[in-house]
Symmetry: C2
Subunit: 469 residues, 2 copies
C-alpha cells in the first residue's frame, strides 16, 4: 500500500463517492472444508453445516499431516450458515538457485535447483462470510513460498549478505549487517510480513471481482531451518481483553509458553486513534477518536469525565463538549469491543469493502494485515516425547485456559505412546472437552458454541523426520 | 497539538515558506545552575564552565534535598560553552478542594483546602544550547502540579470516578471505570504525559520569543501516594542502541531494576517511518524513509539489498532504485544514529525551530514530547536501609553499567550509615568513578568527558518522613 494509493482510495479531495455496488465479474469463491478432510467420512466436505449435527471431524486415518500433526474441527451452533474457520497445512518447498559465478549469470536458470524444506500449518477465522478465510487458506502458503524464494539466498548464508548476490560492493558490508544484528530469521519474519500483505491484496481483488465481502484472522506456524515461526494477525483487540482469539501455545512437561504474539491493546488503540488524529476525514464527522469509559450522553455535557487520546497511556479528565457525544472510534470492552461500531478485530486479512452501516466510512484504513511473529528456536530446546504446539481458534480458548489445555495434553499423551494417531485423537479430545459432555476430562462443563479448529503439532525428533534442514 | 495545527504548521498547501529569522521579543533565557547548588562554594553557580576546571559539585551541606537525596554534577570537558545538564527537585504540594454537597457548590472556593504532598526530582540533558534544559528545569514541575491539581479529586478516590465531581450520571459508571481497569495511578501517568506536552509548548513559545533554539531530554521521578513514577522522554534512540541516555535504576541488596522506560527502538523507528509514509511531504523529496544497513551509493543501483519499511520488524531485499540513494530518514547506528541526519534523540522537549541544515525540513513532526512512565509500588517493597534509586544523565551510563553502579552503591552505603550526608557523598563518588582516577573504586579507569548529573534517592522510611499520604 503506497501513501498515494491510500490517499486516492480513502481521502478523495471532494466528498466521498457513493459506495459502488459490487460488480461481480468472477464466480463466487466456492465454499469448502480443508482439503485434508476429504474422505474423513462425515459427509461431503464442501456441504454447508447442518445446525442439528455438530460432529467433530478429523482427517481420515490414512492421511498423515506434516510431522504427523493432529487436526480436528467442529462447526458452530447456528451462528452462521457456513463454518467460519478454515485450515491449511503442507510442506513448503523453497526453490534455491545455486549461485553461478558472475560470468555465467546468463545461464542461471540452468543451474541445478536445491531445496530448502519447511512445513506450514494455518488457521483462519472468518467473519462477514466464509470467502476471505477460504481465499486465505487457498493463497497464503503460495504467497509465503514466493516471498521466501525471493530471499532464500540470504537465509542460507551464515549471515544475510548486504547484497542478495553475495557480492560485496563495499568491503565493510558484512560489518554493517552485523551491526544492525540482522539474522536469517529476520528474513523469514520479513517474508511472513510481506506474504500476509500480498495475500491481503489478493483477497481484496478476488472479493471485489466476485462481488463478495468479508475478512478473517490468520494464525500461521512455519518450521524452517530448526526454528518455528508463529505469525498472528487478528490477535489484538483494540481494548484490554484477554484470551479470546486464535492462539498457539507450546506445551512441555514443566512449561506452558504462549507462542502467538504478545497482546498489545495499547499499541493497537494508540495506532488507531493516531490515524484518526492525522486523518480526521476518515471519521467523516460521525465518530469521536477519544476514548471514554462508556459512551457519553446529553447529561454528561459540561461535566468533567475520564478520557484518553492517542498520545496517552494514562487517563485524564476533560470537560464534555457536544462533539464528544459522537459514537466512539473504539467502543465497548472485551468481546464487545468494536472498531467504528462494526468490527471486533483490528488486525486481519480482507474487509476491503467494509463500511460502517449506512455511511461511506471505511474500516480498512484502520486495519493492519501485518502479523506479529514469534520465533521458537526448536533446536535449542531439549525436546521430550510429549512436547507439542497447540494452535486453535477462539472457540477453544473461550472455554479452556492455556493451563487447562496443557493439563489435558499431559494427561492424554503419556498413556497413548504407541498409538500412531494420538495427536489426532488429542485434537479431537480437546474439542470434546469444550462441549460440556459429562464425561469430558475437565469436568468443568463449560460449553463452546463457536467454530473450533485445532492443530496439535508434535515437536520431538522433527529434525530427523523433516529432512531438508 | 491538533491535527489542524500540525497541517498548517508543517504541511502548507503551496511550497514551504522560507525559514523565518528569529525575531527576539524577549531577553534570552539566562544561564544558571540548579538553585539548590547556591552556596555550594565552587564559584558562582551561574558562571559558564571553565574548560580547565571540572570540579564535582554538590549542594551545600546545610541544604537538604527532598528525602535527604544526594546530588552531584560535573561539567563537560570542552564539549560546549555551557553545561548542558540541568536539574530540579522539590516538594509537590497539590491543592485539593474538599467537595461540598450539591446545594453548596457555589461556596466551593470557601471550603478548606487539603493538600496531597509529593516529591519531584528531574534531570534534563540539553542539546543545541542550554536554553531548553533551563526552561524545562524552571517549568516542568509547575506544569505537573497544575495537571495533578486538575485530577486530584479522582486520585484520592478509591477508584477514579467517571465524573470528576463524583456524581453518578449513570448508575453503572463505577462498573465502566472498573471494567477499563482505570486506577489512581493512571491519572498520575496521564498528568505526567500532559505536563510534558504543556512544558514542551511553553519551551516552544519562550524560545521563539527570545530568538533561541535547542532541545533537551527529560527524566523525572515523582513520589505520590506511596508510589514512585519515573517518566522519561529522550530514552529511545531510533535504532538498536543500549544504554547511553539518562536512566534511573532501583538498587537493592539483591536486585538491580531499570526504572526508566523500556527501550523500544522498533516502536520509535516504525512510528517515524510511518509518519513519513503518511506525510511524504515532510521529507521534501530529500530523504528516503526506507532503512538500509548502510547508506546506498551508485554502485548499488539495480542490486538487491537488505531493507525494511515502516510496517516491517523483519528484513527483506529490494532492487535499488535511484530514489533509494537519497539520505535515509534514520541513519547510522548506536551513538551515531541520527534522525534526518541531524538529531540523536526521537523523544524530548524543545527543538521546535530545528531544521535540517540548508533546508526547510522540520525535525519537530518526528519528535515525541510524551514520556514513557514506569510505576514502582514502593509500599509493596520490603524496603531496607540501603535501597536507593539512582538517576543520572548519559555521561555516567556511558562509563558505568547498572551492575557497576549497584556494586558501588552496595560497597559505599553500609559503611557510612551514621553519615547524614552519605547520599550526597555517594552521588559525588559515582561521578569520581567516571573520571579515571587511579584511586577510583572501579579500578577500570574508563573516563567520561560528558556532563554528568546524578541523584541518589533513598527509599527507606520515606512513607513516614514525607507525611502527606
Amino acid at each position: 500500500m503506497s501513501a498515494g494509493w491510500f490517499r486516492r482510495r480513502f481521502l478523495p479531495g471532494g466528498p466521498l463517492p457513493a459506495p459502488r455496488p459490487p460488480r461481480p465479474r468472477a464466480s463466487p469463491v466456492p465454499y469448502r472444508r480443508p482439503r485434508f478432510l476429504r474422505g474423513s467420512g462425515s459427509g461431503p466436505a464442501d456441504a454447508p453445516r447442518r445446525p442439528d449435527a455438530r460432529p467433530v471431524r478429523s482427517p481420515a486415518r490414512g492421511r498423515a499431516l506434516p510431522w504427523n500433526a493432529g487436526y480436528a474441527e467442529i462447526i458452530n451452533a447456528e451462528k452462521s450458515e457456513f463454518n467460519e474457520d478454515q485450515a491449511a497445512c503442507g510442506q513448503l518447498c523453497i526453490g534455491r538457485c545455486a549461485f553461478a559465478a558472475e560470468e555465467d549469470q546468463e545461464w542461471l536458470t540452468l543451474c541445478p535447483e536445491e531445496l530448502l524444506t519447511g512445513h506450514y500449518w494455518a488457521l483462519f477465522d472468518g467473519h462477514g462470510g466464509p470467502a476471505a478465510a477460504i481465499l486465505a487458506a487457498n493463497t497464503l502458503h503460495s504467497c509465503l513460498r514466493r516471498q521466501l524464494e525471493a530471499v532464500v539466498e540470504g537465509m542460507v548464508a551464515t549471515r544475510p549478505p548486504m547484497h542478495l548476490s553475495g557480492h560485496c560492493v563495499c568491503p565493510s558490508d558484512p560489518h554493517f549487517v552485523e551491526e544492525k544484528g540482522i539474522r536469517a530469521e529476520d528474513l523469514v519474519i520479513g517474508a511472513l510480513e510481506s506474504a500476509f500483505q500480498e495475500c491481503d491484496e489478493v483477497i481484496g481483488r478476488e472479493l471485489e471481482a466476485s462481488g463478495q465481502v468479508g475478512g478473517c484472522t490468520a494464525l500461521v506456524a512455519v518450521s524452517l531451518q530448526g526454528k518455528l515461526y508463529v505469525a498472528n494477525a487478528g490477535d489484538s483487540r483494540p481494548l484490554p481483553f484477554f484470551g479470546h482469539l486464535s492462539r498457539a501455545i507450546l506445551v512441555r512437561k514443566d512449561e506452558v509458553r504462549p507462542l502467538s504474539s504478545e497482546f498489545t491493546p495499547e499499541t493497537e488503540r494508540q495506532r488507531i486513534q493516531q490515524l484518526a488524529f492525522v486523518y480526521p476525514e476518515l471519521l467523516a464527522g460521525e465518530f469521536t477518536r477519544l476514548e471514554f469509559p462508556r459512551r457519553l450522553k446529553g447529561d454528561d455535557l459540561g461535566q468533567k469525565v475520564l478520557f484518553r487520546d492517542h498520545h496517552m497511556r494514562g487517563w485524564s479528565y476533560k470537560c464534555v463538549e457536544k462533539s464528544d457525544l459522537k459514537y466512539p472510534l473504539i467502543h465497548g470492552q472485551g468481546r464487545q469491543a468494536r472498531l467504528l461500531g462494526t468490527l471486533a478485530v483490528s488486525r486481519g486479512l480482507g474487509d476491503h469493502q467494509l463500511r460502517v452501516l449506512d455511511t461511506n466510512i471505511h474500516l480498512k484504513p484502520f486495519l493492519l494485515s501485518v502479523p506479529q511473529v514469534t520465533v521458537l528456536d526448536v533446536d535449542q530446546l531439549e525436546l521430550q516425547e510429549e512436547d507439542v504446539v497447540v494452535m486453535a481458534t477462539d472457540g477453544l480458548w473461550d472455554v479452556l485456559s492455556n493451563e487447562q489445555v496443557a493439563r489435558l495434553v499431559r494427561s492424554f499423551l503419556p498413556g497413548n505412546r504407541e498409538d500412531p494417531h494420538r495427536f489426532s485423537e488429542l485434537a479431537q479430545m480437546l474439542i470434546h472437552s469444550t462441549q460440556g459432555k459429562d464425561d469430558g476430562p475437565t469436568g468443568e462443563g463449560q460449553v463452546s458454541y463457536d467454530d473450533i479448529s485445532v492443530f496439535v503439532i508434535p515437536l520431538h525428533s522433527q529434525g530427523q523426520r523433516s529432512g531438508g534442514r
